[in-house]
Symmetry: C2
Subunit: 429 residues, 2 copies
């Protein structure tokens, strides 16, 4: 085999799925090219801790080149995919073309605003490092603006935080925001009392953490209320502007004055999914995802695998697997195994997902978790959450730094990574 060129595997996306696939190909006799727009892998589940000033972006990111520095068969390319030529088996980047024998597409997902093009600027999502530092800027600028404001109504609007969407991210943000208002900023202001801040968690569905079992949702809601979060389920956001949000509950319209609105109500497959769909002549589902075969390949393209948040994989039943890290990682590993089968000329194997369970944290020292039939909540679930997240962070240095900062914050409520940075840092908004 040494004289024939080695098969080329191109992986698009260095998130959980793409990284897992590339790592798993370490000892396989192929040339792996990992393409990403960013030079780092990001541990997205902890972005909310950057957004709330507990961690720095670099603590939850690891340079992709560093991750693969010793994997000689893996070449990292920093680049943007412009399109696909599936018949010629080529990926077009903006400045080069990459031929492949096998293509693994794992470009993840972004925030969806359901067609409201003006909402992203009004209510940032939480998918990128820039989202997190922008959210951080808004949160801490709001307290500053409230301190400068004499009018009680306007002050109240600055101290009102509306979180749209009560999935894990919304719940985690809500808990952290209450902790900031009640503890971290306790002694910091002279005119306002930060503890008067209102944190509203708005969810269109009937309960928080809709992906969790009902009893855990109830527990989470209880914990949130205990922290001081105002939980509003069955409430739809119908409008957002710079002064607040319009919501509807049943046939009741309501206006909430709030300068800080954060969005975690919808995700959509990365725009690359649209290009891949049109190149392959395939349909996408409502979330922009591509339906994949049981073996993770695209219909009619056995050499193209789609994994993670971009793939709509129906396991048993009509609901596709959720867009979470464990699914992406397992699919990434499976994709790597498929590469081996493909090269040996063996038939590909269907992907089987063994759900490791779900876990979400609610403020300090509380969490809810579901592992198989077991359900946990409270402090023990929180310890589980802590352990899982620390172990999964890439790089020993980051694990140590995160653990140290968490330990420190736990006892001091200190959130000293709360820098207001960016262009108009003194703007108030």
């Amino acid at each position: 085999m040494s004289n024939t060129p080695r098969p080329k595997v191109v992986i698009i996306g260095g998130g959980f799925g793409g990284m897992a696939a590339a790592k798993k190909l370490r000892r396989v006799d192929v040339d792996v090219t990992l393409v990403d727009r960013r030079n780092f892998h990001l541990f997205q589940p902890l972005l909310y801790q950057v957004a709330t000033g507990a961690l720095s972006p670099a603590n939850i990111a690891a340079p992709l080149r560093w991750i693969f520095r010793k994997q000689q068969n893996c070449d990292v390319v920093l680049g943007e995919v412009a399109g696909f030529d599936l018949d010629q088996k080529r990926v077009r980047l903006t400045d080069q073309e990459l031929p492949y024998d096998i293509l693994i597409v794992a470009a993840g997902s972004g925030t969806s605003y359901f067609g409201h093009d003006d909402w992203p600027a009004l209510a940032p999502g939480l998918k990128t490092v820039e989202d997190a530092t922008e959210t951080r800027r808004r949160i801490f600028s709001a307290f500053e603006a409230a301190e400068r404001e004499d009018d009680p109504d306007r002050r109240r609007a600055w101290l009102t935080f509306v979180l749209v969407g009560a999935g894990p991210t919304g719940v985690e943000l809500a808990g952290a925001l209450c902790e900031i208002a009640r503890h971290s900023l306790k002694h910091d202001f002279r005119r306002i009392n930060p503890a008067e801040a209102r944190v509203l968690l708005i969810e269109a569905g009937p309960r928080v953490l809709p992906a969790f079992p009902e009893d855990l949702s109830a527990k989470a809601e209880q914990s949130l209320r205990r922290l001081g979060v105002t939980v509003r389920t069955g409430v739809m956001v119908t409008g957002i502007d710079e002064q607040g949000v319009d919501v509807r509950s049943g046939d009741q319209d309501e206006r909430i004055e709030a300068h800080t609105v954060l969005w975690s109500a919808g995700v959509r497959a990365a725009p690359l999914a649209d290009r891949l769909a049109s190149a392959a002549g395939l349909e996408q589902d409502r979330g922009g995802r591509l339906a994949v075969e049981p073996d993770l390949t695209l219909p009619g393209r056995p050499e193209v695998l789609v994994i993670g948040d971009m793939a709509s994989f129906k396991h048993d039943g009509p609901k596709p697997l959720p867009g979470v890290a464990p699914v992406a990682i397992e699919q990434g590993r499976h994709a790597a195994a498929q590469v081996k089968r493909f090269l040996r000329g063996e038939p590909l194997a269907p992907f089987k997902y063994r759900d490791p369970g779900s876990i979400a944290t609610i403020g300090r020292a509380a969490a809810v978790a579901e592992v198989g039939r077991l359900r946990f909540s409270g402090f023990f679930a929180w310890l589980m959450w802590l352990f899982i997240h620390v172990m999964k962070i890439t790089g020993f240095r980051n694990r140590l730094l995160v653990l140290m900062q968490w330990g420190w914050s736990y006892f001091t409520y200190d959130r000293s990574a709360r820098l207001i940075t960016g262009e108009d840092a003194t703007d108030g908004q």
Copy 2:
């Protein structure tokens, strides 16, 4: 005194000088208002470590409110100064007015490009967190662009780093850049050899570290050359564009092709100095600084003190004190002492500066230091540098985090805070 309103001290700027003054007024019976555009104090001497991916911005910053949370007589105001009404004793912010009995102006300095208005965009300085993340983006994007470039000349231009100005910042950046090229990125690329990067340190004066004694300058230059830095003294930059720099040495013109140019050749007092000068009807020196009386007050305004980088203070001889942290800190403390004298109706005392010495580091484990008549270089000086800087960082948490990350980097050369972030993160430039 309890029924009369307490005297108001307004301090502009939460850098080394302003922070020192405010802290020193802790037990004085005055109302202190500390105004800053940013919500944090920044430990500027370590900005180059953020720019080179060794530390995160939050590691060298501390929220001003947090610093003063327990100092009840100190109110922190996040705001931008729009002007001064010195006769009415008022500072105008963009959204409010602050009356004062005593005003301490300590707004620091920014980067000076000597009138070249297009240079800031081409060659960022290193004064703010945004400068540092932008520099970091450029440095690591350049290696990425080189990896994608096939043309050897263009590749060479991507791997050429021109640092303009051989003061402590330029010297520190040069050392760190060589370490990155030779060690941190050693295994990261497949096409380029990062060690081929050229680091040019350009200085218009006759030697590096012009503020140090000649023998230490020579030692520093030796260390820099050993690290692989190309030191060019007596060389003036005459032009900068996106492809490189034009320089002149004697009457020899030369062109250096380089995509990354970093500027630390000039500082200028913050623009606020201009407003203060025009309000007070005073002249500024070439660096925009205001000449202050021996007691740090503005001529004719005994209730207005100017300290730190904005002040031109002539000690003995014609040269004003340099714009370094120790001067600002000592002047801040002296300003606080003046406040006490002012309130007691005592005459103000002249400021006396006891130079604690200078220290600059050159890459890992080397530094030069001057303490009184003693001069150190090499490893011992570096340990001194390390100790001083760690001790001076605000906040125990940050001290611990910085020390840990330094320890880690020292043994592993790891620079995993090397995130390419910001708007056009995939742009190459």
